[in-house]
């Protein structure tokens, strides 16, 4: 890693801070969220930056426990950026440290867009859809693929975000947001996400009805003669959209799950749905 000539920071300090970002969530709390965790992860860097300036170290460590929240693996990018600012603060007595706080706050939102919607909501689902196909057959590749596919990109972002955040400072983020990479990525990945959710609705929701009409040769089975011939997977499709509507109306998760169980038992008793 290329260092500023005046910097005390060495690669091993960044490595330490990198590992600490994995443990940021230990001290999560409602009002400050990842605040204490952020200061914890920054500590190896701050110790070096303010080596001979104990007063500024106290101020900085305390200040860094302020409210902070961003998807865990994205936090290192902000740490890199603020580390370069803390270094300026260490040598320049006129530097106002509240700028660091406001930069931190302004970066949380956009970075959460990458972290939460792109990785957690979309990429995780694509990983799950593929992993579940293996896991449903009892294949150990399922969970393994899931962990690797999700964590490899996250870990790369975690390390290179720290590195480039530090070497490029705020300009790193300007570059990222001016090219609208994030917006495009979210758009295209939500399309991919929708395709996969549609496929999973058809493949993974299990609903079969044993209901049939007539007798003997004229027997008409609702499932195999009607649904499977016209729209296979009609029942799962309807169920998914009913649940979607309920969620939209604000019905709570607990009630929907309980309702599903009650419905299952009723349909089992009257032989409307079968195992």
């Amino acid at each position: 890693m290329k260092m500023m000539t005046s910097s005390n920071l060495k690669k091993k300090d960044f490595v330490k801070a990198f590992w600490r970002t994995f443990s940021m969530g230990a001290s999560w709390e409602f009002s400050k969220q990842l605040g204490v965790g952020y200061a914890y992860a920054m500590t190896p860097l701050l110790e070096k930056i303010f080596k001979d300036k104990p007063d500024k170290l106290k101020e900085s460590l305390k200040r860094n426990t302020e409210f902070f929240n961003v998807s865990n693996f994205c936090s290192s990018s902000i740490m890199g950026i603020t580390a370069s600012m803390e270094e300026k603060y260490a040598v320049d007595d006129d530097f106002d440290p509240t700028t660091i706080s406001s930069i931190k706050a302004s970066l949380m939102g956009p970075l959460s867009a990458i972290g939460d919607s792109l990785m957690m909501s979309t990429w995780r689902i694509i990983c799950t859809s593929i992993a579940a196909a293996f896991a449903l057959k009892g294949n150990v590749l399922g969970p393994l693929l899931f962990i690797l596919a999700y964590n490899i990109p996250c870990t790369l972002i975690r390390w290179y975000g720290l590195k480039y955040g530090y070497t490029m400072g705020v300009s790193f983020f300007d570059k990222l947001s001016s090219s609208d990479i994030i917006g495009k990525l979210s758009h295209y990945s939500s399309i991919l996400g929708m395709i996969v959710i549609g496929a999973m609705t058809s493949s993974y929701v299990v609903m079969k009805t044993p209901v049939s009409f007539g007798k003997g040769g004229a027997k008409l089975s609702l499932q195999s003669d009607v649904f499977n011939q016209i729209i296979p997977g009609l029942l799962p499709l309807v169920a998914t959209f009913i649940m979607y509507k309920l969620l939209k109306k604000g019905v709570s998760v607990g009630w929907i799950i309980l309702g599903t169980f009650v419905l299952g038992v009723i349909c089992s008793y009257f032989h409307l749905l079968s195992v």
Binding site: E29, T65, M200
Partner: protein
């Protein structure tokens, strides 16, 4: 021995928060498999994990909300299912109530004790004691926030071993079938939650691209995901081309003015 293994599994599960940097190892697809491995039925664990994952696929923690404690639901559910030779329906019927209890205890700690803990950490930070601060932030946070849940999971595992079989024998056949039916429908709930998160009008038709490919053509999910990548790539290049064409049009218009 099994109790100790489950204790380790619980630590592994909650390490999601204090050691694995939200690497999603706390999700049922991982946790149920690990529980199965610990109890000697790896395959059953993996399968139950896949089914529970699909039911919970829409549950994710963003910021404040902790909607479900999936670690305890996975461990206790899988353990009881394996013990009673049951399946995913048993796992979710037992796992869900336990996880609500664990979530309740977690929230009590977060509301009553965590603010004091954070206050203490800040005081230490203000004195510039970096080593002490690090110890408090990591060990203090870990033990306070996850210790109770880890112990609770281990205790309910021991109790579950005693009572699960008895409880199961009291449940009539049609109710047990009903649970299986419900557990087949539950993934629909998971996907509905996902739709609620990412649904926008302009991407909605793509839901049916995936649905119809799976329903009529019976293409496996992996194949559909690859088709999806191709579709997105085509769209991307078309969008870029349109943009370039627009630019060219603008420039030719300018030429006409001369």
């Amino acid at each position: 021995m099994q109790t100790f293994l489950i204790f380790l599994v619980a630590i592994f599960g909650y390490a999601e928060y204090f050691l694995f940097g939200r690497g999603q190892t706390y999700r049922p697809i991982v946790m149920c498999a690990v529980t199965g491995l610990a109890l000697g039925d790896f395959k059953a664990g993996i399968i139950i994990g896949a089914q529970m994952e699909l039911a919970f696929i829409g549950v994710q923690e963003i910021g404040l909300s902790t909607p479900q404690d999936m670690v305890s639901a996975s461990i206790i559910g899988t353990a009881i299912a394996i013990r009673t030779n049951g399946s995913f329906s048993t796992a979710i019927a037992f796992g869900l109530p336990i996880s609500m209890l664990v979530l309740f205890v977690q929230n009590l700690v977060y509301i009553l004790i965590s603010p004091l803990f954070v206050q203490k950490c800040e005081d230490i930070a203000g004195k510039g004691e970096t080593k002490k601060f690090s110890r408090w932030a990591f060990w203090g946070g870990t033990l306070l926030h996850f210790g109770p849940s880890i112990i609770l999971v281990t205790v309910t595992f021991v109790l579950g071993n005693y009572f699960a079989k008895t409880i199961m024998s009291f449940i009539p056949k049609f109710v047990q079938d009903g649970l299986v039916i419900a557990s087949g429908i539950l993934p629909a709930f998971g996907f509905a939650m996902l739709l609620e998160m990412i649904m926008k009008k302009d991407v909605f038709p793509f839901f049916f691209v995936g649905f119809l490919m799976a329903a009529y053509l019976k293409i496996p999910i992996i194949g559909i995901a690859f088709f999806g990548v191709v579709i997105v790539a085509i769209m991307y290049f078309r969008d870029e081309q349109n943009k370039n064409n627009q630019k060219e049009e603008v420039s030719t218009d300018e030429d006409d003015d001369f």
